[in-house]
């Protein structure tokens, strides 16, 4: 547990962590030793001259004072290490997330990462701030007490010591049982939360089918699954918790019986046996709290596990000696790329000379967007190579590669900020005039004029306050401002109505001028103006050539083309 915590933290925080653990251990041992003074104090009090207790009591008071200082210091130290760690973990997570390949990010990641950044990190911190101290003291103090008992009476000490291995065994056993059910529980919970989101998003359709609440069995089954899993978990944890209690109580009873027997036989003084029984009672409570603390630690551990998994995901490797491409032609050389166990591309090749335009056409799901993503190195290929200016993209410094490529995505994501900030993202050091020029070229100026607040109008989270077409214009202005030699366009105009499409097209034309362009498109007008067309189906480059050549060939592309031109209604 602590080892994983230290790994998640990194070496930097390991030392203060270790110091805190040491401090907590010393405090717990001291607590146990202090109780030893109970024996002489009671011996005096139960004896003929009770006032003999005073020197021992003064010693006890001094001990408590030292204990107080240690305890206070270790409590504060635990919290301080916790908060320092928290900062360290946030920075570590942030740096790591920025380096992870884009391929790692998918729809489910938003939830996962945000849970991690809130609950996960706090749980990890809580281990040090709230759980570690009680856990150490619950383990160490009873052990010290047992040692103390042994010093006074070895039989009773031995009887108490029996508890130690049994407690450790039940704890391990419970942990194993829980781990099995934890996974099941987490899976059920994920399933249920996915079903809830689906249920919410599909409300209009579901209502049309008259299905709501319990009548929507997909959701209700998932909710019941959660309940059953939690019931199973309860049932699986219960034996452990009851077992622990049973062991502690049985050992206490044994000590009680044995102590009574020894005292009755006169083998041990009344004061000693009573002091020992008080001590035994004293060590039972912390042991019983172990099952509670253990449960919390295991929950925190699950969070740490998830954090650890993310932190151990490898970012794309960076070249030791990066090469800077001098030209901007593109080449796919025998590229194989798998997504999961499905081969998206299997040994495909193509090339785009510098300054030319390649249109990528094909049915949906054929791998068109993936092709663009491989050029921008959102993923690495499994075999073969993608080259820019004859240099493998893996040999190029990622920052340099990105500076050579402008991408316009189908779904535009804008940052919550002003329009100007979002455009400026393309080139932060651009002058005012350059930003304005890019905006005019993308016909964004029309949009800006209409908006209350103009240039400083806020676009909302993800650009929510702009329409799809308006967002697209922002992203084109951004790409224009970036002025990169390679341009990648992903179905830029498919989601637009004709008016916006016309506006966006003007911008796109300016963006493409004189650059190497790869575009995924289905509007045939765009395709027609490309120098070359590649028709993709099922990850294969079925046909390549100019638009006219492919039409004349009368193959798949020609079919596709004629289909898209059929005026449907009049049929």
């Amino acid at each position: 547990m602590i080892r994983m915590l230290l790994r998640v933290l990194g070496d930097e925080y390991a030392r203060p962590m270790r110091r805190t653990v040491a401090l907590m251990t010393v405090t717990a041992v001291l607590e146990g030793l202090l109780y030893a003074l109970l024996v002489p104090v009671l011996r005096a009090l139960f004896g003929s001259t009770p006032s003999d207790a005073w020197p021992w009591l003064i010693a006890f008071a001094v001990g408590v004072a030292v204990y107080a200082v240690l305890r206070y210091t270790s409590d504060l130290s635990g919290m301080r290490v916790g908060t320092t760690m928290l900062r360290g973990m946030y920075h570590g997570l942030g740096e790591h997330l920025a380096r992870l390949p884009i391929g790692w990010y998918n729809a489910a990641r938003v939830g996962e990462v945000s849970v991690m950044a809130s609950r996960g990190l706090l749980a990890a911190m809580g281990v040090s701030a709230h759980l570690l101290g009680p856990f150490i003291s619950a383990c160490v103090t009873p052990l010290t007490i047992v040692a103390v008992i042994t010093v006074f009476n070895w039989q009773l000490g031995l009887a108490a010591l029996v508890a130690a291995p049994l407690v450790v065994l039940t704890q391990m056993w419970t942990a194993r049982l829980m781990a099995v059910n934890d996974a099941d529980n987490a899976a059920r919970n994920n399933e249920a939360s996915a079903r809830v989101i689906e249920y919410l998003q599909a409300q209009p359709v579901l209502r049309a089918g008259g299905r709501s609440g319990e009548r929507f069995s997909l959701l209700d089954d998932a909710l019941q699954g959660v309940e059953q899993a939690s019931r199973r978990q309860t049932m699986s944890v219960l034996p452990g918790a009851v077992g622990l209690t049973l062991i502690v109580q049985a050992v206490f009873t044994a000590v009680l019986v044995l102590g009574t027997y020894l005292a009755l036989g006169g083998d041990i003084g009344a004061a000693e046996v009573l002091a020992i029984l008080v001590l035994a009672a004293r060590s039972a409570d912390p042991l019983l709290s172990l099952s509670d603390i253990g449960g919390k630690l295991r929950t925190a551990r699950a969070e740490l596990d998830r954090l650890d998994r993310v932190l151990r995901t490898e970012p794309l490797p960076e070249a030791a000696q990066p090469v800077r491409p001098e030209r901007f032609d593109l080449e796919f050389d025998g590229v194989t790329f798998r997504h999961g166990d499905r081969a998206v591309f299997d040994g495909v090749s193509l090339s785009v000379p510098q300054g030319q335009r390649l249109a990528v056409v094909g049915p949906s799901g054929s791998g068109k967007s993936t092709l663009l993503q491989l050029i921008a190195r959102f993923y690495d290929v499994d075999a073969g190579a993608v080259r820019v200016g004859d240099v493998d993209v893996r040999q190029i410094d990622p920052a340099v590669l990105m500076s050579q490529i402008a991408i316009v995505f189908q779904d535009v994501y804008l940052f919550d900020g002003t329009i100007e900030e979002n455009v400026r993202l393309g080139r932060p050091d651009a002058s005012e005039a350059e930003v304005r020029a890019a905006a005019t070229a993308a016909r964004l100026d029309e949009v800006v004029e209409r908006l209350p607040g103009g240039w400083s109008a806020n676009v909302g989270e993800g650009g929510a306050s702009l329409s799809g077409g308006e967002r697209q214009r922002v992203s084109i202005a951004r790409a224009l401002l970036k002025d990169a030699p390679i341009v990648l366009l992903d179905e830029v105009t498919s989601a637009l109505d004709p008016v916006n499409e016309a506006a966006v097209h003007d911008g796109i034309e300016r963006l493409m001028a004189g650059r190497t362009v790869v575009m995924v498109a289905h509007r045939m007008r765009t395709v027609q103006r490309a120098d070359r067309v590649v028709f993709i189906d099922d990850g294969k480059f079925v046909e390549q050539g100019s638009h006219d050549e492919l039409l004349r060939r009368g193959g798949r592309y020609a079919d596709f083309w004629s289909l898209s031109m059929v005026p449907g209604v009049s049929e």
Binding site: A61, V273, V278, F378, G426
Partner: protein, 614 residues
């Protein structure tokens, strides 16, 4: 910013008058818990019996002590009886607390299930407009995490809190009967600890708590931005910016947290110290020694204080211990109640049945916010059965809002939408959806088989009907190519493209076979096949009442009625040719569209020639 856009984006603040739910006030969770009350009682009783029985061994030690320390011969029978009773007490405690804890957790699972079901029911009746303005992630968090956060409330609080008070109370009474002065001395640590509590509840502390929540919220927002914008971040080298924002939010949070902890931790540590066993023992021993040496108390009477005195601190410790959890649970409960309090779209007490399938909008006005701008400003429109009505207009003119009134995602702020002469508000929801189906831009498929997805609105559809709908929607062949055909589970066994999903949605609408169809032609992600599917669908539906947001000139040209919308008003309506002849707004709009797609027509000419030359 036009209102249509904001709806499309799905985010706006308060519920509107149009979609205002009947104000069910924040619902209490009480009635939901009432059926479980007897079980709660059992949990508490078992726990209390167990906890009190747990005192038995301590009493046994005390008895043994009394016997051992009493002058004269030891009554060994009395000693063994005490020991046996103590052992029995322990056993009772084991059985009862175990049973209580198990029952409590099972009860917890049941309560959570019924809360979730109730939430699902409530969400399933909330106005669509209300739902569209909430992030589904947030609502899912209420159904998932927030309900789970109630756990300590249900599984732990009743038993543990009650026993945390009952046990010390029993001990206290017992100790008072032995020596009330030493009892008071024993309470000194408790008083010291309680004296710390006000320090934890200062206004500054509360403010710190609010800052803490706010800072946590900023982290969540910056994470969402970080993750969702990661592609842009990487592509535009903006990683600095987003990264910095995240780190700033994180640093901010840690600063606030540190300040909060620093304020709390000294106090908390002090409190812990006052309650720590060595300190309590020290106080008891000093007090006891004073009483014993002065001869006011028998030495053996110190024993109960040593054994039970520590237990007196339990309630304070329990309060401190469970406080955070309970506060979190309280916040979660208030979010749950908010969702349960969302009313349904008003349902008519006496639903009427529409006479036919004529749709009539009369003086319909609509705004998303009570004081917000009107998106629709007095729309009068009649959709005759068997006609195709095409709505056109610039973006932001209110088209999307208009079509969403037909399936009653919203109610108009003013005026009425009538189906077969009956106000939609008086039509039973089931009846409404038997008559109106829709294919809107935002296609949602369920993680269920293809067949189930198509038959969603008609659960008892035959396989033949499903297949026919799929054929009409041009998706049948694609489905057959899937691993398990119509039984393939979407989202698990296959991920469909946007266009394919849209064709499934079209098939779904066709399977529903309703007399009224609402269609948004803005075919996002569309590919040629989907385009064709949409057009063919329109062609086969000539006997229906069809309302379509048209983007293709072919659709517009084929419509029986064209409605030109601008800024929430109908600026022109009539037959397409008549409107062109008028040379008004529509004609101008038509020309800009035509120039926008001029190249497509060019291209078509070419391909036709190509066909001929072959």
């Amino acid at each position: 910013m036009s209102a249509t856009h904001s709806v499309e984006a799905g985010e706006q603040s308060t519920p509107s008058s149009g979609g205002t739910p009947t104000a069910r006030q924040p619902v209490s969770t009480g009635p939901l818990l009432r059926p479980h009350a007897p079980s709660f009682a059992v949990v508490v009783v078992l726990q209390v019996i167990g906890a009190v029985a747990g005192l038995a061994p301590l009493f046994a030690v005390i008895e043994v002590g009394r016997a051992l320390l009493s002058p004269g011969p030891i009554d060994s029978n009395r000693v063994w009886t005490a020991v046996i009773l103590g052992a029995i007490g322990l056993f009772v405690r084991l059985v009862f607390t175990g049973a209580s804890s198990g029952l409590g957790h099972i009860l917890d699972g049941k309560v959570q299930l019924s809360l979730r079901r109730e939430l699902a029911r409530s969400l399933g009746q909330a106005p669509i407009g209300w739902l569209s303005r909430r992030r589904s992630g947030e609502l899912a968090k209420v159904v998932g995490d927030d309900v789970a956060a109630v756990h300590p409330f249900i599984a732990h609080a009743p038993g543990e809190l009650v026993s945390a008070f009952v046990v010390p109370l029993v001990s206290l009474v017992y100790l008072l009967t032995i020596d009330w002065r030493l009892t008071l001395i024993t309470l000194i640590p408790v008083v010291l600890a309680i004296a710390h509590v006000p320090l934890l509840m200062t206004p500054a502390r509360n403010r710190a708590q609010e800052d803490f929540d706010a800072a946590m919220g900023r982290i969540a927002t910056s994470v969402v931005e970080f993750v969702q914008g990661i592609a842009v971040v990487k592509a535009f080298g903006g990683s600095e910016r987003a990264h910095r924002k995240f780190l700033t939010a994180a640093d901010d949070f840690v600063d606030i947290f540190t300040r909060w902890v620093r304020g709390v931790s000294a106090v908390a540590a002090g409190m812990q110290l006052a309650l720590s066993p060595p300190f309590v023992l020290l106080v008891v021993l000093i007090g006891g020694t004073v009483r014993i040496t002065s001869g006011d108390m028998a030495p053996v009477d110190l024993l109960p204080f040593l054994l039970l005195g520590l237990g007196l601190t339990a309630p304070v410790a329990a309060l401190g211990h469970g406080f955070d959890d309970m506060q979190a649970a309280g916040r979660a409960v208030s979010r749950i109640r908010e969702v349960l309090g969302v009313g349904t779209l008003p349902q008519s007490a006496r639903p009427a049945s529409p006479q036919d399938n004529r749709v009539e909008l009369s003086d319909v006005r609509f705004s998303y916010d009570d004081d917000g701008p009107e998106v629709l400003r007095g729309i009068d429109l009649v959709l005759e059965p068997g006609t195709l009505t095409a709505v056109v207009g610039p973006s932001g003119s209110g088209k999307s809002t208009l079509v969403q009134l037909l399936p009653r995602f919203f109610d108009p702020t003013d005026g009425a939408v009538r189906l077969g002469g009956v106000d939609l508000r008086d039509v039973d929801t089931r009846e409404l959806y038997r008559r109106v189906s829709f294919v809107l831009q935002d296609v949602r498929l369920l993680r269920a088989s293809v067949a189930d997805n198509i038959a969603l609105a008609v659960p008892h559809a035959t396989p033949e009907e499903v297949t026919r709908a799929a054929q009409l929607a041009h998706i049948h062949d694609r489905i057959l190519a899937l691993p398990r055909g119509y039984d393939t589970v979407i989202g698990e066994e296959v991920k469909l493209s946007g266009g394919e999903a849209q064709r499934i949605a079209i098939a779904r609408a066709l399977a529903a076979d309703t007399p009224v169809l609402v269609l948004d032609e803005a075919t996002a992600f569309a590919d040629p096949q989907t385009d064709q599917a949409v057009r063919q669908t329109l062609a086969t539906l000539r006997d229906r009442t069809v309302l379509v947001i048209a983007h293709r000139l072919e659709t517009v040209a084929d419509a029986d009625l064209v409605v030109m919308l601008d800024e929430g008003r109908v600026v022109e309506q009539g037959r397409p040719n008549d409107l062109l002849a008028q040379d008004g707004r529509f004609a101008a709009f038509w020309r800009t569209q035509q120039s926008a797609v001029a190249d497509d027509s060019e291209a078509r000419g070419q391909v036709l020639q190509g066909d001929l030359s072959r």
